[in-house]
Amino acid sequence: MLTQALFRALDKKAIWVIAIFLAVAVLVPMANLLIPPGQYGHVPTYLVSLMGKYLAYAILALALDLVWGYCGILSLGHGAFFALGGYAMGMYLMRQIGSRGVYGNPVLPDFMVFLNYSELPWFWLGMDNFWFAMLMVVFVPGLLAFVFGFFAFRSRVTGVYLSIITQAMTFALLLAFFRNDMGFGGNNGLTDFKDILGVSVQAQSTRATLFAATAIALALSVLVCSMIVNSKLGKVMIAVRDAESRTRFLGYRVEYVKLFAFTVSAIMAGIAGALYVPQVGIINPSEFDPANSIEVVIWTAVGGRGTLIGPIIGAIVVNLGKSWFTTTLPELWLFALGALFVFTTLFLPKGIVGLWHQAWGRMRRKTEHAERPAPPTPAQSADIERGEDPASFGHEAQPKPAE
């Protein structure tokens, strides 16, 4: 059962994407650690962390695409799940500081001493244990998504209304985390991290390891998403996206289909946040900013939603652009981002991946015409159209014989 699902997930394209990121997970740290600085091929440590950050964003974009591109749920609050995962990791890292803080309190983080806390709030208990903290990375975003989705999807909140309440959710969390008395460090957030699993977070080898972990997590996310979208449940998700009501009349519980996708997606976003925080060295309430969640939507749209590779490409390309703009023309970045989104919506509805498919399909058609002047048979044109259709990456149109 599970092996068959895995087998289905590893279609031609997915296996390539997974292989590429696993290779990246090994090669980039090697280029950083084994090739000495100054020599050709050396990747400086700051660049390793920067790329690690992009890959964490790529996981977040992939998570959004699972609900938006495949299931039609336009979440404008995915940044909240990312930030919650990040906070869980941040809490673990804070507790590792121990007595090395400015106030030297062995248990309480500095901001708590400053705010005259006498003991740890209950929700900080256990967060000094790595595995418990990692459980929270998965559990907290997952639970929030489950509860939120349960009520929203059961009440059949869809479309723009759903997008608005997801924005409201992340905005509410933004305000809550800004408050000092919430116990999450207020507007300064959590920072000045020292150790992770007993080694310094600043160390070159730790940074290389965190990068590798992020690349592996991305590869696993692609595997999980591929397994879902290539299953019958994936087809039902697309059915929900395209004709929700019709799916109900086939007997599928649309609310549970959405709830499943939303919860899995939130967990992925939480993991992305947890990998992001030690690489950037800080988590603060601005991560809940509604604008952040909208940016994720833009990455996904630019790369190509409803494909697995699209959001990954989109997240990396747009953030490369952002890094360039914010160093050379910082005041223009938001205009550029807005223009990019408008341009994509108007001219590239299927994003970069759609453009690629189009160009590729055209090229193939041309060579076919050159070789054989006869018009393509219906079966062949169906083939071409399938090649062009990026609706689901690695989507297998052939009926599957019993595997």
Binding site: M1, S231, L233, D242, A243, R246, G251, A382
Partner: protein, 249 residues
């Protein structure tokens, strides 16, 4: 006991109003097991609304809607009703356009509908054989790998009928199945529906009188949300009220 034992579908005293407009007005209809019923009537008579009520899309204001003589359909939602064994073909053919003909049927195929059984589903030999058989019945075997969007209007109608067959329901509600079909396709559809009604209950809504004649079933004429006349097609079409309010127009 009461009138509704030994019925597949039992509607009594059903009314529904939209903003004060009574789309269905004290409607009573009975369909027996393995019986076909054809429903005719002018546009706006409430035929589609009646199907909406049976399938859980619209809640009636008053009245009784029973399935299989005992299950109260007014308390259930669309998915629960579909899983009881009520399949519906919509007036406007609605298939999943961005997916292949095969996938449309695979999703419709009667199988556990839970999240995890759907996630880990793998088509068995029986499933493949069954889908292939349905594809042959609805004459789409040559187009099984094409996107449903590329089918003609008539073929989409057939695909939706195929999806109904795949669901293996006890009661089929078929709303205007032959719109957009050629004469020979229409004839085939009538034949297929007659065959299905050997073992299941079928309710067909249609305007095409020659098609209704071919069905050879009991006929109900609906107007303004209630039953105007009932009987064989000849009886109904000879009814002076029906002639005045429907056929004569």
């Amino acid at each position: 006991m009461s009138a509704h034992t030994d019925t597949m579908l039992y509607l009594d005293g059903v009314s529904v109003a939209f903003d004060g407009f009574k789309a269905i007005n004290n409607l009573a209809i009975i369909v027996k097991p393995a019986e076909m019923l054809a429903i005719i009537g002018p546009n706006g008579a409430g035929k589609t609304t009646m199907m909406d009520i049976i399938t859980g899309k619209t809640r009636p204001d008053t009245g009784q809607v029973l399935f299989d003589g005992r299950t109260d359909l007014t308390r259930l939602d669309e998915a629960a009703i579909a899983n009881l064994g009520i399949g519906r073909k919509f007036q406007k053919p609605t298939v999943f356009e961005s997916q292949t003909v095969w996938d449309n049927l695979e999703m419709a195929l009667k199988k556990p509908r839970g999240i995890f059984s759907t996630l880990f589903y793998t088509a068995s030999d029986d499933d493949v054989a069954r889908i292939t058989e349905i594809l042959e019945t609805v004459r789409l075997i040559a187009r099984k790998d094409e996107l449903a969007a590329n089918l003609s209007h008539g073929q989409k109608q057939w695909l939706e009928i195929g999806m109904l067959l795949a669901q293996d329901p006890k009661l089929l509600l078929v709303d205007e199945p032959v719109a957009g079909m050629t004469d020979s396709e229409t004839e085939e559809t009538a034949k297929l529906l007659r065959e299905i009604s050997q073992t299941r209950s079928v309710v067909v809504v249609e305007h095409d009188m020659s098609f209704v004649r071919e069905l050879g079933s009991r006929v109900v004429c609906l107007a303004e949300g209630s039953v105007l006349a009932e009987g064989s097609l000849d009886q109904v079409s000879a009814n002076p009220v029906v002639i005045e309010r429907y056929l004569g127009r």
